[in-house]
Structures are given as structure tokens and as C-alpha cells.
């Protein structure tokens, strides 16, 4: 996974926002997942707006109190986790 990558949601993933966070359900596996406020913002940029991981990092750096290297590392790990859970597909 690279910062220039984008992601698209896998088929069968439903998402609902709840009080600033996101809950995701994979209909194929029946597994539930949660994204906190930072993850929810990343999902918005990546999935809703179609931005790259770098775009999501920039948005989060503006809105949350964290250093860019930490944000990049966290978002790369988040996308890898989402990919591993078959919630998203990474598009170079």
C-alpha cells in the first residue's frame, strides 16, 4: 500500500455513520467493524470523495492534532487492515 493509492469498497460492505464514527458490516462474512473519528474521516476522503491516501493524510493533518509521519503510518496501516478484512480494494 502506497500513499498515492486509492481504495474502493468491496461489494457487500454496508456502512453507517453513528455519532461521528462509522460502523461497517461485511455482508459476506457477517463481521462488524468500527472506525473511530479519525478512521471515519479517512473513509470519507478515501471512499466517499475518491481521494488518495495522501489526500486523506492531508485532511486529517488539518483537523487532528498529530504529526504527518504518524498520520501517514497510521493510515497506511488502516488501509492495509481494511484490505485484509476485505472491506476495500486498493487501486494503484
Amino acid at each position: 500500500v502506497n500513499l498515492t493509492d486509492k481504495v474502493v469498497p468491496e461489494e457487500g460492505v454496508v456502512v453507517t455513520p453513528l455519532q461521528g464514527e462509522l460502523v461497517l458490516l461485511h455482508l459476506e462474512t457477517s463481521n462488524y467493524y468500527g472506525l473511530d473519528a479519525v478512521g471515519a474521516r479517512a473513509w470519507e476522503v478515501l471512499v466517499t470523495q475518491g481521494g488518495s491516501i495522501a489526500d486523506a493524510c492531508a485532511a486529517i493533518a488539518l483537523e487532528f492534532d498529530a504529526e504527518p509521519p504518524r498520520i501517514e503510518a497510521d493510515l497506511l496501516a488502516l488501509v492495509a487492515a481494511l484490505q485484509g478484512a476485505k472491506l476495500v480494494r486498493v487501486v494503484p
Partner: protein, 313 residues
């Protein structure tokens, strides 16, 4: 394990009966009859229920008409895809009250969920004109806490299966369930005392205490004020903490009746319903000392907490 299902003469005496949950919130026509196993339970199981100790409680099977639910050595049920019809076959050792008990506590909630009614594994009582629910896995203490609350003057709506009716822009309505509480013997001895017991049923050691005496049943639907997730953390006094809505959805999903978790349509509908519930109803985790001596003070703490929510939502 073979399910030795055959119809007892007692069961055969009520071949078909309509059951209604609440004021027509869910309706099921139950047919009892036939001999031998129901065909749906002959195929492979796609899902199962386990007891807290890990023993097999029920298996779920697909059928042409809908779903088969098999309680090993006790009974088999077939639920139509729309949840409106249920066929049952009881083992020779299971009398009609036992079969109806299984139906009412386990199968009717599944059928109701197929009719679009979200049903939670939860006890519920009335506090200040509203309902509060106690949620958690089997064995966590829902029935004991529900009974203790009832004994402290808060009428119970249900001890195990809570149906909810969602309303636009308002908290859901909690629908009363069967007017009895099932308790393990030690809880029954401490909380029900000399209250009359219903007849024992073959598949469980729990005592059934019908409503009456100290246990008043709330028979009307009540707005659901809040949900308490029963925790098992060791504490000296009751400790009540809010649970974020996004986290609460996980707990609601784990405590929901759902016939087929692999059915995308059912799963998506449940997800939508539970998300709406989590948005509209505050959820709290309550840890409390696990001793009968502490139960009255736990009930008081919960009642005070819920009442303050009512005043200052």
C-alpha cells in the same frame, strides 16, 4: 446426536394455534403434528447456538419453505421464510408446555425477526413509565437482575426476549413478552421465595416463575429509555458508564435474534434497524457486585440512573 422427535398425544391435542406478540406486532400460526423429524433438519446445519458452557443448544438448517431449527433430543421447528408459520415436532419426552416454552422463548423471536421486528436477548423492566433493557449473553444475569428489579417494584416486560418497534424520530417501543421469569434455582430461591412456580419443563433446570405476587408484569408497550449492557467486571459498587453508539451496535448485533446470519438481506436489514436503535437509545455498560446481598442496592443505582435520564435526557 439424533433428535428422536415424535409427537406426544398431549402435543397432538393442539394441532394449530395462533400466537400474537404484543398488540399484533408479530403473529405466528403454530402447527404441532406429524411424526419423526421435520425434513428441514435432515440437511447440514449452517448455524448453531451454544450454551454458555459450550454445549450445543440448537442447530439451524435451510429448507424449501424457510428454516429448520433443531433442539437436539427435544424438538424441531420449521419457520416459514416470512416468519408467519411455524411447524413443530416434539420428542416423546417433551410435553406440550415444554414445546410451547421452546417455541415462545426461542422460535417465536426468530419468527418475529423475520417479520421485521428487531428482537434482542434482553430483559426489560418499567421505570418511571419507560422501559429499560438489560442486555448480554446467556448466563450473564439478565433474568436475575430483571427479577430483582421486579421484586423492588419495577414491573418486568420480559426476562429474555425483547421485541422493539421503531418509531420515526422517537425512541423505539419495547413490547412486553411472556409473563414469566426463568431463574436458576439459587436465584429463584432468593428472589421468588414462596412464589408459585410453573410446571418444570424437560430441557432446562431453570424454574419458571409466573407473573404475580412480587413480580408484576408490565403489559403495555413502553418507550425504551436506555439499554444496560451487563458487564462481568469485579466491582464493589454498581458502576455505570456510557457506551458510544458505534460500539453499541456491535453489542446489539451480538444479542439479536437472527435466523440466518448468512442471508445478506436479513443481515442488512438488521444492521439498519440496530443502527437506528443505537442512535436513538443511550446505551450504558453496568458492572455490579455479583452477590444476592448487593442486588437491592444495584437495583436502586440503576433505577436512580434511569430516572435521571428520564428527567434530563
Amino acid at each position: 446426536m439424533k433428535c428422536s422427535a415424535s409427537v406426544t398425544s398431549d402435543s397432538a391435542s393442539i394441532p394449530e394455534q395462533d400466537f400474537v406478540w404484543g398488540e399484533g406486532r408479530a403473529r405466528v400460526r403454530l402447527s404441532i403434528g406429524g411424526s419423526g423429524s421435520l425434513a428441514p433438519c435432515a440437511g447440514p446445519a449452517f448455524h448453531q447456538w451454544l450454551s454458555p458452557c459450550g454445549s450445543l443448544r440448537a442447530t439451524f438448517h435451510h429448507s424449501v419453505a424457510g428454516y429448520g431449527v433443531r433442539f437436539p433430543d427435544c424438538a424441531e421447528f420449521e419457520i416459514s421464510r416470512d416468519g408467519a408459520h411455524v411447524a413443530a415436532v416434539g420428542a416423546a419426552s417433551l410435553d406440550t408446555p415444554g414445546l410451547l416454552h421452546l417455541f415462545w422463548n426461542h422460535v417465536f423471536p426468530l419468527a418475529a425477526s423475520l417479520q421485521g421486528l428487531p428482537v434482542l436477548h434482553a430483559g426489560a423492566v418499567e421505570i418511571g413509565g419507560a422501559a429499560v433493557a438489560f442486555l448480554g449473553p446467556s448466563g450473564i444475569g439478565k433474568s436475575t437482575l430483571t427479577a430483582a428489579m421486579a421484586r423492588n417494584g419495577f414491573p418486568f416486560l420480559t426476562d429474555d426476549a425483547l421485541a422493539l418497534v421503531l418509531q420515526d424520530d422517537e425512541a423505539p417501543l419495547a413490547v412486553p413478552g411472556h409473563p414469566s421469569i426463568r431463574l436458576w434455582q439459587d436465584s429463584a430461591d432468593r428472589l421468588a421465595g414462596s412464589e408459585p412456580r410453573a410446571g418444570a419443563v424437560a430441557f432446562t433446570d431453570k424454574a419458571r416463575v409466573p407473573a404475580g405476587g412480587h413480580f408484576t408484569h408490565c403489559e403495555g408497550e413502553r418507550e425504551l429509555r436506555c439499554i444496560y449492557l451487563l458487564g462481568d467486571r469485579a466491582v464493589k459498587d454498581a458502576d455505570i458508564q456510557p457506551v458510544p453508539a458505534a460500539r453499541a451496535v456491535f453489542d446489539l448485533a451480538q444479542s439479536s435474534f437472527l435466523v440466518d446470519p448468512g442471508d445478506r438481506q436479513l443481515l442488512a436489514r438488521q444492521f439498519e434497524l440496530l443502527s437506528r436503535i443505537a442512535t436513538r437509545v443511550p446505551v450504558f455498560r453496568v458492572d455490579y457486585p455479583r452477590s444476592f446481598e448487593a442486588l437491592d442496592s444495584v437495583c436502586h443505582a440503576i433505577a436512580t440512573h434511569a430516572s435521571e435520564l428520564t428527567v434530563n435526557p
